[in-house]
């Protein structure tokens, strides 16, 4: 018997046996569609996530459904471009089984499907490939959690490996999850709770599961947010702590070594920052007299006194005496010294003689019995300004000459005459 025939028979038997077993939905993507997978993640789950090839025939792929979870989990469209190995490996793909869930529009592409049957070898014509969406929306890209990817992952080895390497035990352990409506955990948006109770219940459930509630950006419709409280001013550092922190310990080698004993040791410079005492002096001063002195009134109280404070009795007499002294000093000198100069008199003649003017009236007012105040009335017709005569400048020269009279006074005139006749003799 031809060994190939025997092998084919054996293969057929295995196919029949496998066909009898219940099969989960599979999302096997044709090899030709793999390059269209937009998920760049190198994880082994990523290549089997998207199903761009059926997208050309199924509308849900291009619809930006915010909840694409069912579509993403839904098995792909009929694998019209499956290879022979795929067909042999899975002659009854699960993709054809759940057709009852397909929308009515899914029957429309039957004509195109019929046309593409010629490409069962897996080579997709360029026209068909051009109809594929160029890129996927973010919502269409679904990250598969281990739980959701488990059934699909079970199919992947079958698609990749050859018929000999098929392991049907994994497929048996897989559970169908195509119809599960639970959104994937990695969904960008979770289902919004309708009421507060539901939200609390979900949060409690998530906390119970040990999952960390992801931080969510508040939606824009959440309204104005409360302003952040101002940042508190940094507290004043404790000087004691700073001083203790800045002073570095000298260390274990601060002391002299055995070799340095008995010798002069040059001490290293002080390490650490230079300490500067920058305490305000005012604080020290205030603290100094805080307990020992009584603060005097400040400047704003200077000059103030109580209005009802009466002077002592003897102060009245001192005040009167002071006012009298001030009054005496305030009396101007007689005006005759300036305005009554002889040259200023209207009747002054060239010879220096002038007519006598009546003296100004003088009255005496005495506020007290001891002091008299003289009031002098100036002349009403004083039309001239006083003329001040300054003493002429003296000619430069000696003002006085003192001759020492050491010579005895002559007793007779003749002696003096003789001595004077002797002057000028060499």
């Amino acid at each position: 018997m031809n060994p190939e025939v025997a092998r084919l028979e054996e293969l057929l038997a295995r196919v029949r046996r496998n066909a009898a077993l219940p099969r989960p939905a599979r999302g096997v993507a044709p090899r030709a569609a793999q390059p269209a997978v937009s998920t760049p993640s190198p994880s082994p789950v990523a290549p089997i996530v998207a199903a761009p090839a059926p997208a050309a025939f199924s509308a849900p792929v291009v619809i930006p459904d915010p909840m694409p979870a069912p579509a993403s989990v839904k098995p792909p469209a009929p694998a019209f471009n499956d290879t022979v190995d795929d067909l042999l490996a899975d002659p009854f793909p699960a993709s054809s089984a759940p057709q009852q869930a397909a929308p009515p529009e899914a029957a429309a592409p039957d004509a195109a499907f019929a046309e593409t049957k010629e490409h069962i070898s897996g080579v997709m014509p360029a026209a068909v490939a051009a109809e594929e969406p160029e890129e996927l929306l973010e919502d269409d890209i679904v990250e598969m959690s281990p739980i959701a990817a488990a059934p699909v992952e079970a199919v992947v080895p079958a698609a990749r490996s050859s018929l000999d390497e098929l392991d049907f035990e994994d497929e048996e352990s897989a559970q169908p999850t195509a119809n599960e409506e639970e959104p994937p955990v990695s969904s960008s948006r979770s289902k919004v709770a309708g009421t507060m109770d539901e939200a609390l219940a979900q949060a409690a459930a998530q906390m119970d599961e040990g999952r960390e509630v992801p931080l969510k950006t508040p939606p824009p419709e959440s309204g104005p947010q409360a302003a952040m409280p101002p940042m508190p001013a940094p507290a004043a550092p404790d000087m004691d702590e700073l001083l203790e922190a800045d002073i570095l310990p000298v260390g274990a080698n601060a002391g002299p070594t055995q070799e340095q004993l008995g010798q002069t040791i040059d001490l290293d410079d002080a390490r650490g920052p230079r300490l500067e005492l920058d305490h305000p002096q005012v604080a020290l001063a205030e603290a100094a007299h805080e307990e020992l002195e009584v603060s005097l009134p400040q400047r704003e109280f200077g000059g103030g006194y109580q209005e009802n404070l009466m002077p002592p009795p003897e102060a009245r007499q001192d005040l009167d005496a002071h006012l009298q002294r001030v009054g005496d000093e305030a009396i101007a000198p007689p005006p005759e010294s300036l305005a009554q100069l002889p040259s200023m008199q209207p009747g002054a003649s060239a010879s220096g003689m002038y007519a006598a003017q009546p003296t100004p009236a003088v009255t005496t007012e005495s506020p007290t019995q001891a002091v008299s105040t003289v009031t002098v009335e100036a002349a009403a017709n004083a039309e001239f300004a006083p003329e001040l005569l300054a003493r002429p400048e003296l000619s430069p020269g000696p003002v006085a000459k003192f001759i020492r009279a050491d010579a005895p006074r002559p007793s007779t005139f003749l002696e003096l005459l003789d001595s004077s006749l002797a002057l000028g003799r060499d």
Binding site: T412, L414, S420, L421, L423, R425
Partner: protein, 187 residues
């Protein structure tokens, strides 16, 4: 020696019958107006004025000797008193004496001749000293201040030095100081 006081009593004798004026023990006098005499002196030359003045002084010195007797023993006060009295009788002013160290300075006040008669006054002093004391002296004018005029009574040499310093602008006090200082250094 105490000198007698100057007594001008009956010093002038007016003989109205004869129309003469006489000074005691002296010749006749003529009373002339001072401005006329001054005009005459201004018209005359310096030597004539000096000679005229010396003659007037010689008359005063003679009168001094007649009052004092030995003029050489007369004191300063006596000379000033009697000489001054004679000059006052002549109407030439009031005499005063200043002693600046060893320098003799005679000054006249209230002379009616004024500054124009200083040369005449100095010549009167020279004539009186020559007649009373027998010394040839030169009265060098030091200064004039108002109605006071000062004369340095010295020799010709000393008078020339004083005139030289005065003409160069040296003050009269400095002139006296220089003269006295130079004489003290020499001696």
């Amino acid at each position: 020696m105490m000198s007698p006081r100057f007594d001008p009593s009956y010093a002038l004798e007016f003989d109205l019958g004869r129309g003469q004026i006489r000074v005691a023990n002296a010749a006749e006098r003529v009373v002339v107006p001072s401005d006329a005499l001054l005009a005459l002196c201004q018209a005359a030359n310096e030597e004539a004025v000096r000679d005229f003045g010396r003659r007037l002084g010689t008359e005063a010195g003679r009168a001094l000797l007649g009052r004092l007797g030995d003029a050489g023993q007369a004191s300063l006060e006596a000379v000033v008193e009697h000489l001054g009295g004679e000059l006052a009788l002549m109407g030439l002013g009031s005499l005063a004496l200043e002693r600046w160290g060893s320098a003799l300075v005679l000054s006249l006040f209230h002379s009616p001749l004024g500054q124009a008669g200083d040369l005449l006054l100095g010549s009167v002093l020279e004539g009186a000293a020559q007649r009373a004391f027998g010394r040839d002296v030169v009265a060098a004018k030091l200064m004039r201040d108002g109605d006071q005029v000062r004369f340095l009574i010295t020799s010709r040499m000393g008078a020339d030095k004083a005139h030289g310093w005065l003409s160069s602008g040296v003050a009269w006090g400095e002139v006296l100081s220089r003269l006295v200082g130079s004489t003290r250094g020499v001696s």
